[in-house]
C-alpha cells in the first residue's frame, strides 16, 4: 500500500516539471513555432529559483526570478527566431547549449561551487496540507501534502486549455499556426502571437524549473533538467499540443519513471529499468499514430 502511494506520489512529482514545460511548449506549438528550448528554459529557471530563494530567503521571489530567467531565454529566442528570422531549430539548440554553459558558469561565479549547490538557506516551495482530506487513508495521503507547484501545474493545465480554446487570445494563437497570412490580413500581426507564445512558454518553463530546484528537491545541480525538456517536446508532438493529453503523457512518464526504479527490486538491471519511460513513450506514440491513422481514413 505504502509503496503504491509512494509510486503515485512519485508519478505526480515526476510529471510536474514535464507537464509545466510541455504546457509552455503547447503555446508555441499552436503558434507554429518549433520550440526546442524548453530544456534550457527549465535549467535556467531552476538556477534562478535557487538564486532568488537563497539570497532573499523567500521562495516566492525565487519562483519570480525563475520565471524572469526563463523569460530572458525566451526573449533571446524571440530576438533571433521571430525578429531576425533565424532558423528556429538552430536557435533552440544554441539556447540549450547556452543555458548549460551559463548556469554552470554563474554557479561557479556566484556560489563558487561546481556541480551542486545545496544549502539550508534555500527556502523550498511549501507543500499544501489539506486538513480534513488528510484523514482519508490513501486518497488523503495523495491529495494532501503535495507541493504547491503541483497544484499550480494542475491549474495551469486547465488555464492553458481555457486560453487556447476559449479566448480570443487562443483563437489568434492557433490562427498564427494554421495560417499566419490570414491572421496578418485580419489586422493581428502573426509575429506578435509567435512572440507571445514564446513568452508564455518562458513563464511555464520557469515555473517547471522552480519546481525542480525548490519543489521536489531543494538544490541546484548542473544540468539538473536532465532531458526533461526533450520529453516534454515529445509529449507535445505526441498529442498535438492538447493540454489534457499532455497532462496524461506527463503522468504516464512520471509513473513509468518511478516504476522503473521500483522494478530494480526484481532482478532487472538498472539500465533497463531506466529505459522504461522512453519505451513507454514509444508505446504511447504507437497507439496515438494508430488512432490518427483511423481518424484520417474516416
Amino acid at each position: 500500500m505504502r509503496i503504491l502511494v509512494g509510486l503515485i506520489n512519485g508519478m505526480i512529482s515526476g510529471a510536474t516539471p514535464i507537464l509545466l514545460a510541455a504546457l509552455g511548449g503547447a503555446y508555441t506549438f499552436y503558434a507554429g513555432v518549433f520550440n526546442i528550448a524548453m530544456e534550457g528554459m527549465l535549467l535556467t529557471g531552476a538556477f534562478f529559483a535557487v538564486l532568488g530563494s537563497y539570497y532573499t530567503g523567500s521562495w516566492l521571489i525565487g519562483v519570480l526570478l525563475a520565471v524572469l530567467g526563463a523569460l530572458f531565454l525566451a526573449l533571446i529566442f524571440i530576438l533571433f527566431a521571430v525578429v531576425l528570422k533565424t532558423d528556429e531549430f538552430v536557435t533552440g539548440i544554441a539556447l540549450n547549449l547556452f543555458a548549460v554553459g551559463a548556469t554552470t558558469y554563474m554557479l561557479r561565479k556566484i556560489f563558487s561551487v561546481k556541480g551542486v549547490f545545496s544549502n539550508a538557506g534555500i527556502q523550498p516551495i511549501p507543500s499544501v496540507r489539506i486538513p480534513l482530506l488528510e484523514q482519508i487513508p490513501v486518497l488523503g495521503e495523495i491529495l494532501s501534502g503535495q507541493n504547491l507547484m503541483v497544484w499550480v501545474a494542475v491549474l495551469a493545465t486547465f488555464l492553458t486549455y481555457f486560453l487556447i480554446f476559449h479566448t480570443h487570445f487562443g483563437l489568434r494563437l492557433r490562427a498564427a499556426g494554421y495560417n499566419p497570412a490570414r491572421l496578418d490580413s485580419s489586422g493581428v500581426p502573426s509575429s506578435r502571437m509567435r512572440a507571445l507564445s514564446l513568452l508564455a512558454s518562458g513563464v511555464l518553463c520557469g515555473l517547471g524549473g522552480a519546481f525542480l530546484s525548490l519543489g521536489y528537491v531543494n538544490l541546484f545541480a548542473e544540468n539538473m533538467s536532465a532531458g526533461r525538456g526533450w520529453i516534454s517536446l515529445a509529449a507535445i508532438i505526441l498529442v498535438n499540443g492538447n493540454p489534457m493529453g499532455i497532462a496524461l503523457i506527463s503522468l504516464l512518464f512520471g509513473f513509468s519513471d518511478g516504476l522503473g526504479l521500483l522494478l530494480q527490486g526484481y532482478r532487472v538491471s538498472a539500465q533497463f529499468t531506466a529505459m522504461v519511460p522512453y519505451i513507454a513513450t514509444l508505446i504511447a506514440l504507437y497507439f496515438y499514430a494508430a488512432r490518427k491513422k483511423k481518424l484520417k481514413s474516416t
Binding site: 538544490l219 530494480q264 538498472a270
Partner: protein, 326 residues
C-alpha cells in the same frame, strides 16, 4: 638519498590535477582539488585543473596538454588508463600519480594511490545496521531494513555496496539491504530523491548514498521522511542537520598532499602502490554532527570496530567483482 644534493635537484614548478569527471561533486574530485590548492599555497607551485567531464574525446588531448604544461601530474584516470600508461612510458621523467585506482605502466613510473573504500563502507554498514535495530531512535521502525542508492553499477560503487552490506549483516544477519542504482544519472538529484523515497517506503530506516550530486537528493529525502541517510566522500553530516547520521569519507586531498610532500623532500619513489585505508587516514567514517542523532552507545560500538580495523585485528573482505545488486 634524502640529502642536500636531493634538495638542490630542481623542484617541480607546475602541477596539473587531471580528472576524468568534473569538479563539484562536493566529494571525491573536490577533496582532491583541496589538496592541490594546499600544495599551491604551501609550496608556491603553479597548479591547474583539467576536467574531462566524462567526455572520452578529451582524455588524450588533456593528457597531452598536461605533460606539455606540468612536471607533476595527479590524475584520476577512470576510463583512460590505457592512454595514461602510454604517456607515462613516453615521458619517464615526469611524475605521474594516479589516484584511486592501480595503474601499472611497463616502465613502472606511475605511482598509484589506492583507497580501501571497503573499510569505511563497512563501517557505514555497521552504523546503518545498528540504527535500524534501535527503535528508540525517532521514527525507526521495527523492520530490519536498510538501503543504499548508487549512482551507477560500476565496480567502485559495487565495492561500496558490497562492504556496506557486509557491515550491516555483521550487526545482524537478518538485516535486509535494499539497493537502487540510478543507472549513471549522477547529476539527476530528483531521481536520487525518488529512489531514496522508494527505499523508505519499503521500510528502510537508513539509506546510504553513493551517488555524488544525485546523492544530495537522497539526503533531502531523509529530511522529508524524517528518517536517516549516510553521506559519502566528504563529511555531509551537516548538510541536512539531524538526518545525516554519518558520512563515509574519502580523503583524496590528504593523499595528494602526502605524496607531494615526498616529492618535495626527494623521498618520492615512482611505481609504488600506496594503500590508503583508515589507518593511513585515506578513508574514514565521520559520526560527529551539529545535531547528534546516534546514541552514544552506537557511536562507541562503531568506534570500537573502527579501532579493530586500524589495529588489523579485523580484516575487511575486499570487493572482487561479485554481483552485489540482487
Amino acid at each position: 638519498a634524502c640529502t642536500p644534493a636531493a634538495k638542490t635537484q630542481e623542484q617541480p614548478k607546475r602541477v596539473v590535477y587531471l580528472i576524468n569527471g568534473a569538479l563539484g561533486d562536493n566529494a571525491f574530485y573536490d577533496s582532491g582539488k583541496a589538496g592541490i590548492d594546499n600544495i599551491a599555497k604551501q609550496y608556491g607551485v603553479e597548479t591547474r585543473t583539467i576536467e574531462c567531464n566524462f567526455d572520452a574525446g578529451k582524455y588524450e588531448p588533456s593528457l597531452r596538454a598536461a605533460v606539455d604544461y606540468a612536471d607533476v601530474i595527479f590524475v584520476i584516470s577512470y576510463g583512460f588508463e590505457d592512454q595514461l600508461k602510454e604517456f607515462a612510458d613516453q615521458y619517464p621523467n615526469k611524475i605521474f600519480v594516479n589516484i584511486d585506482t592501480v595503474v601499472e605502466n611497463s616502465k613502472k613510473t606511475i605511482t598509484s594511490v589506492d583507497f580501501i573504500e571497503e573499510e569505511s563502507a563497512y563501517l557505514a554498514g555497521v552504523v546503518a545496521g545498528l540504527t535500524t535495530l534501535d527503535t528508540s531512535i525517532p521514527n525507526v521502525n521495527p523492520d530490519k531494513v536498510v538501503g543504499v542508492v548508487g549512482g551507477d553499477v560500476d565496480p567502485v560503487v559495487s565495492a561500496f555496496v558490497f562492504a556496506y552490506e557486509n557491515g550491516a549483516k555483521s550487526v545482524d544477519p537478518e538485516i535486509q539491504v535494499l539497493k537502487k542504482s540510478l543507472g549513471g544519472a549522477w547529476d539527476d538529484s530528483a531521481r536520487g530523491k525518488q529512489a531514496a523515497l522508494q527505499l523508505y517506503d519499503q521500510k528502510a530506516d537508513v539509506v546510504f548514498q553513493v551517488a555524488a550530486a544525485a546523492g544530495i537528493g537522497v539526503l533531502q529525502a531523509a529530511r522529508e521522511r524524517q528518517l536517516y541517510a549516510i553521506g559519502v566522500d566528504t563529511n555531509q553530516n551537516d548538510l541536512e542537520p539531524g538526518y545525516v547520521i554519518a558520512s563515509d569519507i574519502k580523503n583524496v586531498g590528504k593523499s595528494i598532499e602526502d605524496v607531494y610532500k615526498t616529492i618535495h623532500e626527494g623521498t618520492y619513489k615512482p611505481g609504488q602502490v600506496l594503500k590508503y585505508g583508515i589507518a593511513q587516514g585515506g578513508v574514514d567514517i565521520a559520526l560527529e554532527a551539529k545535531v547528534q542523532v546516534l546514541p552514544q552507545s552506537i557511536v562507541d560500538k562503531v568506534l570500537a570496530i573502527r579501532q579493530q580495523i586500524v589495529d588489523g585485528t579485523l580484516k575487511i573482505e575486499m570487493y572482487n567483482n561479485q554481483d552485489v545488486w540482487q
